[in-house]
Amino acid sequence: MNAFPPNDTDSSIDIGEADAETAAAIDIDREKGNFSFKEDYAYDAGVGLNAGAVDYITDVKGEPDWVREFRHKALKIFESKPLPTHWGSKDLENIDFAKIRYYLAKGQKPSRTWDEVPDDVKETFERLGIPEQERKFLAGVEAQFDSESAYSRMKEELSKQGVIFVGPTEGLKEHAEVFRKYFGKVIPAADNKFAALNSAVFSGGSFIYVPKGVKVAQPLQAYFRINAENFGQFERTLIIADEGAEVTYMEGCTAPKFDTATLHSAVVELVALKGAKIQYITVQNWATNVFNLVTKRGVAEEGAEIRWIDCNIGSRLTMKYPAVVLKGEHARGEVISIALASENQTQDTGAKMIHAASHTTSNIVSKSISVGNGLASYRGQVHIPKSLSHCKNNTECDALLINTNSRTDTYPAITVRGSQNSTQHEASVSKVSAEQIFYMMQRGLSEGEAMSLAVNGFINDLVQEFPMEYSVELKRLVELEMEGSVG
C-alpha cells in the first residue's frame, strides 16, 4: 500500500444538503453479532505495545527464535513508519495504539469437535450459525475467538490428500519448511504500518497448503470473532496452492458493539503456484466502531488464477485493497468488491493489479453504496510496465448514492505502458431516485423494502459470484442495513 498514489485523480461527487428524514435514525441492526460474554482470559499481554508485549506473545505460543526476531524487527518498523494520512480518512489518527490489548486467549487449544469448545465460545459461534454451516456445505472450519482459534476441523479425506488447514502457530511449528518459505514474502513487514503491526503481534488466522493437483471442492472457512473491548485482532493468513491445486477460502467477521473502538488489522498472503487457483471470499459485518485495516495480496505464478471476492459492510473505517501480483505468464487476477458505507462510516476499498509478466490479465469490478453521510470510495492501482506485452486489464467501478448528502470518490490509478497492452476503464455513479422509490412503494413495498430492493438490484450481478449460502446472507445484511437507514 506504500506505493499508493496521491489523490490526484479525485472525481468527488458531493450532491448537496442532507435529506433529514433519511439521514435521521440510522441505527444499523447488528443484533446478530451484538452480544458478548464476560471476559475471562488466562493469557493477556496487557495494554499497550512494546517489546515486552511481543515477547509475551511469542513466549506464550512457544515460537522458535526466527519468529521472535521477525516480530521484534516488525515492531521497530511499525514504530518508525508514519500513518498513511494522505488518504482514506483522518479518523486513523484517532487510533490510540497505547490503549489497545494485543493478545487475549483462554489458553485453549483449537478443539476438533464442537463439544470440546468452551460453552460461551461455542454459544457465540452457534448464534452466528457456524456449526450449522459446517454441516451443510463446508470442507473445513476454523473459528477464532479474540487472539486464538477455538475450533479447527477439516474433513478427513482432505488430510489424507495432504491438505493442511491449521492456525499459523501450528503451521510455523509443524510445517516449518513450507511455511517459512512463503511467510512474510508476499507482504513484507515493511509494506505498510499496519502490515508491520500485524507482523509484530500476529496471532490466529489460517495456514493452508494444498498439494499439487489437489482440488478442494468445498470451501474452507474461517470465522473471526472479537469478544473483548479495547482489543486488537491481528490474524495472519497464508494460503499456498501448489501446482495445479484449487481451493476456495471464505472468511466471516463480527464483533459486538463496544463503547470504545476496536482494531482489526489482518495480513493475508496468497501464493498460487503454476496453474493453481485460489478464490478468497470475505463477508465482513463488523460493528460500527471497528477500525478495519487489512493488507491482502496474492502472487499468481504462470497460468495461475487468484480471485478476491470481497464484501465490506459495517466497521467505522475500512481500508482494504486486495492485490494480485501477476508474476507468471498467462496468470489471471480478479477482484470483485462490494462496499456499503452507512452513516458515519468510511469504506476506502479497491484493488491493485501488478502485472509482472506478459500475457497476464486482470479484472476489477467494484460496486459501492453510500448511505447518508457514509463515504464509500474506490481506490485502485493497475500497473503494466512497458517491458511487457499482451497484458489486459478491465476496471469497472460503479457507485450508488442513497441520499442527497451521500458521497463517493474514485481514485483509479491506471498506468499502462507499452503498445501491446490494453486497459479498459468504466465508472458510473447513480442515485436511487425519489421516483424509483415512489414507483416501488406504489406496488406496496415500504420505503425500507424499496431501498433494499434497489440496493440489492444494484449489486445483484456481483452477489451471484458468492456461494449461495453467502449470497443469501449478503442480501439479508443489505436489507437490514437499508431498512435501518430510513426514518
Partner: protein
C-alpha cells in the same frame, strides 16, 4: 358508498400552483370510467395525488376507497389498501427482475414472516404472461430497464393482473404505443374487468376507447370534470376537438 372509489372536492397543488380544483368523481366497482382532456388539465396529477406522491399536496377534500380514507396515507399503504396506478413513465429498477419485483410486492401484502408459495406464484405469473402474449424470458429481465414503450406498458398490466387491485388508475397507458401493443394492453384490461374492480382510464386520445369501451366518459378541464356522459361523449369529443369544451365553458 362503501363499494366505490369516492373522490370528493379534492384540491391539489404542486408547489404554489393549484392543479385540481374541487375535483369530484365516484367510480363504483365493476365499472370502467375514462377521463379525457387536453394536456395540462390535471389528469396525471389526479393519479399521483391519489397514489400519495409527496410532491402533490392535497390541501382539502377526500378520497374514500371502499369507505376508507386514503388521503394522507403513505403510498405503500394506499397500494396495499387496493389502489393500483399504471404509470405513464414507469421507473427502471436495475438488477431487479420483474419476477422478483412482483414477488416482493406480493410478499409485502402478506403478514410479516408468512411463508410464500413460490410454486403457485410462478404458475399464476406464467398464466398471466401467456394471456398477455409475453415471452417467458421476459420476467427475468430487470424491471423496465431498456424496455420499449410497449414493453413498459405490458409490464404495468402484468403487475396489475398479479396484484389484483380493487381500483386501478391507468395514467395515459396508451401513450407511445403502436396499434398492436395497444390491443394487447386493452385485452389485458378487458380481461380484468369484472364486478371486483373499478378502473379509471386516463387518456388524451379517443383511440384507446375503441378497445376499452368505458361505462362512463368524463371530460376534464382546468382541474375538474366539466362533462360526463357515456361512450358517445368520447366520439363527440373526437369529432369536435377540445376547443369545443373550452368555448362552451367560456360561453
Amino acid at each position: 358508498m362503501s363499494n366505490s372509489l369516492e373522490i370528493k372536492d379534492l384540491n391539489v397543488s404542486i408547489g404554489e400552483r393549484q392543479i385540481l380544483k374541487n375535483f369530484s368523481l365516484t367510480v363504483p366497482k365493476g365499472e370502467v370510467h375514462a377521463i379525457m382532456g387536453p394536456n395540462g388539465t390535471g389528469k396525471s396529477t389526479l393519479a399521483k395525488a391519489l397514489a400519495g406522491h409527496e410532491d402533490y399536496a392535497v390541501t382539502s377534500g377526500s378520497a374514500l376507497l371502499d369507505g376508507e380514507e386514503i388521503i394522507g396515507q403513505e403510498p405503500d399503504a394506499i397500494a396495499r389498501a387496493g389502489l393500483f396506478m399504471a404509470f405513464q413513465y414507469p421507473s427502471e429498477i436495475p438488477g431487479v427482475s420483474i419476477a422478483n419485483f412482483i414477488r416482493a410486492a406480493l410478499v409485502a401484502r402478506q403478514p410479516k414472516g408468512a411463508p410464500f408459495d413460490a410454486k403457485a406464484y410462478y404458475a399464476e405469473l406464467y398464466k398471466k404472461m401467456d394471456a398477455l402474449k409475453m415471452d417467458r424470458k421476459f420476467t427475468a429481465r430487470s424491471v423496465n430497464e431498456g424496455f420499449s414503450g410497449g414493453e413498459k406498458k405490458r409490464c404495468e398490466i402484468l403487475q396489475m393482473m398479479m396484484l389484483q387491485p380493487k381500483y386501478a388508475i391507468m395514467d395515459e397507458t396508451d401513450s407511445g404505443l403502436d396499434i398492436d401493443a395497444l390491443r394487447i394492453v386493452a385485452d389485458g384490461v378487458n380481461a380484468m374487468r369484472g364486478p371486483d374492480i373499478g378502473i379509471v382510464v386516463i387518456t388524451h386520445y379517443q383511440r384507446l376507447l375503441d378497445y376499452i369501451v368505458p361505462d362512463k366518459v368524463h371530460v376534464m378541464y382546468d382541474g375538474r370534470i366539466v362533462h360526463s356522459g357515456d361512450k358517445n361523449l368520447a366520439l363527440e369529443l373526437e369529432a369536435k376537438g377540445y376547443d369545443w369544451v373550452k368555448k362552451e365553458l367560456a360561453a
